[in-house]
Symmetry: C2
Subunit: 421 residues, 2 copies
């Protein structure tokens, strides 16, 4: 868990402001839920592996006897827990407030989540997630809106040329069926296929053999991977999607993928020669078990890792609501984006450090400060020290753009504001 | 703990944005600390009554034996806790990062805290605090900057005519000394005096008698309260402060109060006839035990309760840092401010709901939406339902200002945007 010093905090808030502004423009409504949810709800089996990483909150008022009795049962010791994602709270929120929300509800959440992970580089125990979700729309309009809004948001952050890799769980299922993988083996097979980016086709095939997966299915899969067109991902469109897939994938799945591509392409500037910034990737898996249809990941040429991802999870809201409800979401990797954008921007607003002697009357000093603030400036007061140079360097590294010295009786009109640095 | 729906979340974010903007202009730097702090630090006796209300976080990986062993010792069951205020985390933050911060550090924090209070109207278990603090400045410049910045912030929120009631713990101490209250009785006496607003002078005297407080001291106190000038609070200035106090208050305390008043007055527009919007209140107490000097509360004529408060706490940072460090802080009652400002503002930005039939091609629809977003509008897509009137009413109540209907082939130039309502 990290402290954020002023420069970092400012950068984080700027990135958040851009993301919020863009999603809001695209019709998403921001909501907020409490950081703690009921223990039972957090541990209802929806959160996958993340559930095990939840921080649980000790019941209040437990006496020693109650603790002893509860020893073997964490649910008796803890009644609340910190959320480990924003999806479980969203499902709970939607079930609680459905009647107060539009029929098709487009939500945006930008908020911290907590996971008790082993500390390692780039992994934090408290980190911000930024999720958009559309609940109540079973059509591809939802996927297209999510993707267009997200591309606009990362574009506004200065990351042009982002692309979205897309696939569909139904296509993956059909593919595994066509290759002849037995149902019981498929979850393991998907975990191996998910490593394609890292280990390549030969590595995937080798790992499937090691796993002792059904031999003939692996042979079929290997032959398929060796076709020249299988890993030929561009340009996006019906021709490429059909070429990249084996037989047996339902036409409606292909039609959905094509419709999403056409809709996203229609929003791109005419100057973009390649159409939609989409890449169909028949081997994109996405880890979470709750996806039921399209799945996607945000990529950018400057980094090898994904900057976000999401997919359709039509079954999950229903578990809270008690009635079926289509839903699809896209989560931006906020922490990765902030790290990627970690260039020290100069402070945009005019700002000034006023260096004053200790004997400058307080009233005059604060009146001068108030005048500058009223003019739209950011103002810091610094009592003069022997080492004025150090004061000025400090102010410059803190993002201030100018300075002025103040003596007893200095008025706004007398002030000589000089640039720093 | 509350969910925030879109309208409420939007209002909260707007209030936060104004507060941040104003404090930033006045030279405060925003920081952020993790929501969890070490159990030992949270329960070090600095947080007063709030400490008892902390939510504690269960250690990970405790087995049943470990739980049984820990039964009587909460510190063995919990290693972390949620912060119950922003002052303890600030002290810890400052001690960790002092070398990276300016010599006089002006911080602003706007973040949630948690207290396991009994649910009651207007009290929440998760609520946002908004604190500014100045660390490293023992002079009255610090108090004056805090007060001026806070008055500017509430003014920018539309709450003109706010005032700050001010007192000094050193004056209170001297007063209790002059009246002859024995040292052991003073904490209880202060708790009773703190009720003056609610029960009046006679009520305070009666409660002191009931408490069995030293009789002659109560008599002296009663006589003092009955002087005509004692509860005559205006106008602020040296004359009134001296008149309102008994003998025995050190001159330097009075000089500090006068200097703060003059400095704040110097920042007020010349059109303000009353000078500083300050009220000297010799009976202002403020509950927390850690205050050592000036104490203050934010008031507004529209409400009977305080909208915030603070004071000087020169001893506390030293407990974390190991060396003395002056500090003074002002905390705005963010939740109260939001409630007070709860008028439904119209959405400032241009916004439009596009009503479309299900057969409008997705590409054309999303291209139209992208065009409007690029023009700076907020856009929501709505598939036409039988009850279009309900759709439009919903959109209006969600803050949208206009609507248009879209058919197959509608382009931006064809769009007839009509106002809602």
């Amino acid at each position: 868990m990290r402290d954020f010093l002023p420069a970092e905090k400012t950068r984080r808030e700027r990135v958040l402001a851009v993301i919020r502004d863009r999603y809001r423009a695209h019709g998403f409504d921001e909501i907020e839920t409490p950081v703690m949810e009921d223990y039972e709800r957090l541990h209802a089996g929806i959160g996958g592996d993340n559930e095990k990483l939840a921080y649980n909150v000790l019941r209040r008022g437990l006496d020693a006897d109650a603790v002893r009795e509860a020893a073997a049962d964490p649910a008796a010791l803890a009644d609340l827990g910190l959320r480990y994602d924003l999806t479980v709270p969203l499902a709970r929120f939607y079930a609680s407030h459905r009647s107060e929300l539009p029929t098709v509800f487009r939500s945006v959440q930008a908020a911290p989540v907590w996971r008790a992970e082993r500390p390692q580089k780039g992994r934090y125990r408290q980190f911000v997630q930024c999720d958009i979700d559309i609940i109540g729309d079973a059509s591809t309009r939802a996927e297209a809106e999510l993707i267009v809004a997200t591309l606009d948001a990362v574009d506004a952050l200065g990351l042009q040329d982002a692309t979205v890799r897309i696939n569909d769980r139904r296509a993956l299922d059909a593919m595994l069926d066509t290759f002849g993988f037995p149902a019981a083996e498929r979850p393991g097979v998907l975990i191996t296929i998910d490593k394609l980016d890292k280990v390549g086709p030969a590595g995937v095939v080798a790992e499937l053999r090691e796993r002792g997966v059904h031999g003939r299915a692996v042979d079929t899969f290997e032959a398929f991977m060796n076709r020249p067109q299988t890993l030929e991902y561009l340009p996006y469109g019906e021709g490429q999607i059909r070429k990249a897939l084996p037989d047996g994938v339902p036409d409606e799945v292909i039609a959905d993928l094509v419709a999403i591509g056409e809709a996203v392409a229609a929003t791109q500037p005419a100057s973009e020669p390649d159409g939609a910034p989409l890449v169909f990737d028949p081997f994109l898996v996405r880890g979470m078990g709750y996806y039921t249809g399209t799945i996607f990941e945000l990529a950018h040429p400057s980094v090898a890792y994904s900057l976000g991802g999401g997919g359709r999870y039509d079954g999950m809201i229903g578990r809270f609501l008690g009635t079926d409800m289509p839903a699809v979401g896209f989560s931006i990797g906020f922490e990765r984006l902030v790290d990627l954008l970690e260039t020290s921007e100069a402070d945009a607003a005019a700002s000034v450090v006023l260096i004053h002697d200790a004997d400058v009357p307080l009233g005059g000093l604060l009146a001068l400060k108030a005048d500058l603030v009223a003019e739209g400036m950011r103002v810091r007061l610094e009592r003069r020290t022997k080492n004025v140079k150090a004061l000025l360097e400090r102010a410059e590294s803190d993002g201030f753009s100018s300075f002025a010295t103040v003596n007893a009786g200095t008025k706004r009109a007398d002030l000589e504001v000089k640039p720093l640095g």
